[in-house]
């Protein structure tokens, strides 16, 4: 999809004034956040699980080549095939190649953020295939021709009324207005597609090295129908999603649903191992896994390695007050919120997404809820450091920092400047105790008064009272 992260500032301001979006975002806060709080409190070992998951992920990343090779061998032994894609273009080529070979006309899709990352839908449609998203949220935004605004709730920015409008236009009415009616209508439309589909594409939450299984978790069961009923099943996943043993999956499953939606567990957890075997009653004829690198091995080697622990739960964005204020689209690509603000610059370029690491108060709430303890604020600050070093940071800010540094490393000069500032601001605000406007401070005073000082600085008063120390 088209990358629009450079428009962050403009789009975030539009988002703040979008009444429908603001209404929808309020429900996100009250839903996911409140439920996660309850779930985390009800599981006494929740904090211990976070630590275990972090350690296990670190172990996997330390031995990633080993586990990936084991995984490939296990998939092959089960009759499936693993394909390695260095970047988005290679991943698209591989999938288009499979679809072309099997003569695919209709492709159904379960929810897959990697497929969004590699821009798969556009590529398939361009080659004349009909692509049908089967996750309800993904289906809604496909009808609206929009990218997802959240990694697990892609249509979270839509209100029910907006969905009613979309369905009425796409399905021809009569207009449904209740959630059960809307869900039923989508279900009927999608059911037909599952049976007609040639290829079913899903993501892979976990790839089990021990067994060669891919695991998906959904609340709608759409992923199961997508991968079981099509002739060919293609799994798209990042190389970092492998886990050593089958039992390791349980650790992540216990954390994922609680962190993501505040459920104890998702409704459906489904393991796929290879294509249909002779005695199986159903299942695909072919089973492919496309493992996507797309910048991940570079992350593995550098200081952003911690980011590869991400299990894509969305807790960081659910708890991010900036995301909560502007929604996901302002971030301009497929991954929004704190995790997206780290991933997007790393995958798409630091200079193409300047604002993302900067539009953050470093309040730390994301890191405090991350189920695998990714130090997201530290990574965002590190990205700012790289932007500064590479001179991507705007020159005005760089100059301001130089002036500040010059003064702040000279205490006499700095204190003199502070005394002058305190006097001027105190004089200007002497009647009301605050200023409605101040020179060079419009970014502050456009929406806030500036509390005025009383006149003499603390250091000045202290020194006259007690002498210099």
């Amino acid at each position: 999809m088209e990358m629009r992260s450079a428009e962050f500032k403009t789009r975030s301001v539009f988002a703040i004034h979008d009444g429908g979006l603001q209404k929808a975002m309020g429900m996100l806060r009250d839903g996911f956040v409140a439920k996660r709080t309850v779930q985390a409190a009800e599981l006494p070992e929740f904090e211990q699980l976070r630590e275990e998951a972090k350690n296990l992920k670190n172990h996997i990343l330390d031995n990633l080549d080993h586990y990936l090779e084991r995984y490939e061998a296990a998939v092959t032994a089960a009759g499936g095939q693993v394909h390695w894609a260095r970047d988005a273009a290679e991943a698209r080529e591989i999938i288009l190649g499979i679809c072309h070979r099997v003569g695919a006309k209709i492709v159904t899709k379960g929810k897959s953020m990697v497929s969004e990352e590699i821009g798969l839908n556009e590529a398939l449609i361009e080659k004349g295939m009909e692509v049908v998203e089967t996750d309800l949220g993904e289906y809604i935004i496909q009808l609206a021709d929009e990218p997802p605004s959240h990694i697990i709730a892609p249509a979270v920015h839509k209100t029910k009324d907006q969905v009613s409008d979309l369905f009425e236009e796409a399905h021809g009415g009569p207009r449904k207005t209740t959630v059960p009616d809307l869900v039923n209508e989508a279900r009927q439309v999608l059911r037909e597609k599952y049976f007609k589909a040639d290829v079913g594409i899903t993501g892979g939450n976990y790839l089990v090295a021990e067994t060669g299984s891919s695991v998906i978790v959904t609340n709608e069961g759409n992923g199961d129908l997508t991968q079981t009923l099509a002739r060919v099943h293609i799994v798209t996943s990042g190389i970092e999603r492998v886990v050593p043993r089958l039992e390791d999956v349980t650790l992540f499953l216990r954390l994922l649903a609680r962190s993501a939606t505040g459920q104890e567990t998702e409704t459906y957890t489904t393991f796929s191992t290879g294509p249909r075997r002779p005695d199986d009653l159903d299942g695909p004829q072919e089973y492919h896994v496309v493992l996507v690198d797309n910048g991940r091995s570079k992350m593995l080697a550098g200081r952003f390695r911690d980011m590869l622990r991400c299990i894509r739960c969305g807790a960081c964005m659910n708890h991010c007050p900036v995301y909560g204020s502007i929604g996901g689209h302002a971030y301009g690509w497929v991954y929004p919120g704190p995790m997206g603000s780290v991933l997007t610059p790393l995958i798409k370029g630091l200079d193409n997404a300047y604002d993302l690491p900067n539009a953050c108060t470093l309040n730390g709430r994301c890191g405090s809820v991350c189920p695998v303890k990714i130090p997201l604020p530290d990574l965002l600050r590190e990205l700012r450091h790289l932007q500064h070093k590479q001179k991507i940071t705007p020159s005005l800010q760089r100059h301001a920092l130089s002036v500040w540094r010059f003064a702040a490393t000279r205490p006499g000069l700095y204190h003199f400047g502070e005394r002058i500032a305190a006097r001027i601001l105190a004089f200007a605000g002497r009647k009301k105790g605050r200023l409605r406007k101040a020179p060079l401070a419009s970014a502050w005073t456009d929406s806030r008064d500036l509390p005025a000082p009383s006149g003499r600085t603390f250091l000045e008063q202290w020194q006259s009272q007690r002498g210099k120390s």
Binding site: A359, S402, R448
Partner: protein, 261 residues
């Protein structure tokens, strides 16, 4: 004679930039609380800023230069104490990180970090202060500033001490742990998002019916007070230290000189 337990602890007060210019009363409140608790307080003249604006803007060189200055100015004290969770978290957590590749300065940074504290956590956790003699008749609510809360674990200490202020009733607001939208330079780089966040904070604050907002970081308090004054909301804003020291009898942050209680 260097054992702090055998004499009055010698505390170097970290006079934060915002406090120094905008609200000296917080500094004097901190001094009173520390002296009442038996400390000797000094304010080194060689201090300026902790370096956080540089660090958070990605200018790690500038941040290091400031950190060296702070370390040199304060390493001779038994403790470094400041009335801000944000600045003190920088000294306590970020300084050792900043010098990861410089063993000498890293040792000095770690040594300073180990004896650097935010004011209220220092009084409550280190000195065992569990009550104050202050009095203030008010219904207050408390905003948990992010750095103090998440980096330094400041949550119970201010509340425990405020509970001993005669006449003060604390009513908790919803989402008290959610950022107010200040975020240092964030509030001027992304003013519209910041405004939205502070409005959310103020909605929760007003819903408590409190007439006073308290907090431990002047940046956040100036942000919230500035917005409260702009929308003419009749809520007074004070730093917790001012209330605990019994020095909240003057105008609140952003109030006119005559608007005393």
């Amino acid at each position: 004679m260097n054992d702090p337990s055998k004499r009055r602890p010698r505390v170097g007060l970290f006079a934060t930039c915002l406090m120094n210019v905008f609200r000296p009363n917080i500094g004097f409140s901190a001094v009173k609380l520390l002296e009442d608790a038996g400390c000797t307080v000094e304010v080194p003249a060689q201090q300026t800023c902790c370096g956080q604006p540089g660090y958070n803007s990605g200018d790690f060189d500038a941040a290091q230069a400031l950190a060296r200055q702070v370390i040199a100015a304060f390493e001779g004290f038994d403790y470094v104490v400041g009335p801000s969770g944000s600045c003190m978290a920088t000294i306590r957590y970020d300084y050792p990180e900043m010098f990861a590749d410089d063993p000498d300065w890293r040792t000095r940074a770690q040594s300073l970090a180990g004896k650097s504290f935010e004011l209220l956590s220092f009084l409550h956790d280190e000195l065992g202060v569990d009550r104050v003699g202050a009095r203030l008749k008010t219904k207050a609510t408390y905003h948990d500033s992010c750095s103090g809360l998440r980096s330094l674990g400041i949550k119970g200490q201010p509340r425990a001490l405020l509970a001993t202020v005669e006449g003060l009733k604390l009513k908790e607001m919803q989402d008290t742990e959610v950022c107010c939208g200040f975020g240092g330079t964030f509030c001027v780089k992304y003013p519209e998002i910041s405004e939205k966040m502070v409005d959310d904070k103020i909605r929760n604050l007003l819903a408590t019916g409190a007439d006073t907002l308290l907090g431990g970081d002047l940046g956040c308090l100036m942000n919230i007070a500035g917005r409260l004054k702009r929308i003419n909301a009749p809520v007074k804003v004070f730093h917790t230290a001012e209330v605990l020291a019994g020095m909240a009898d003057g105008p609140g942050i952003g109030d006119a000189p005559q608007e005393t209680r």
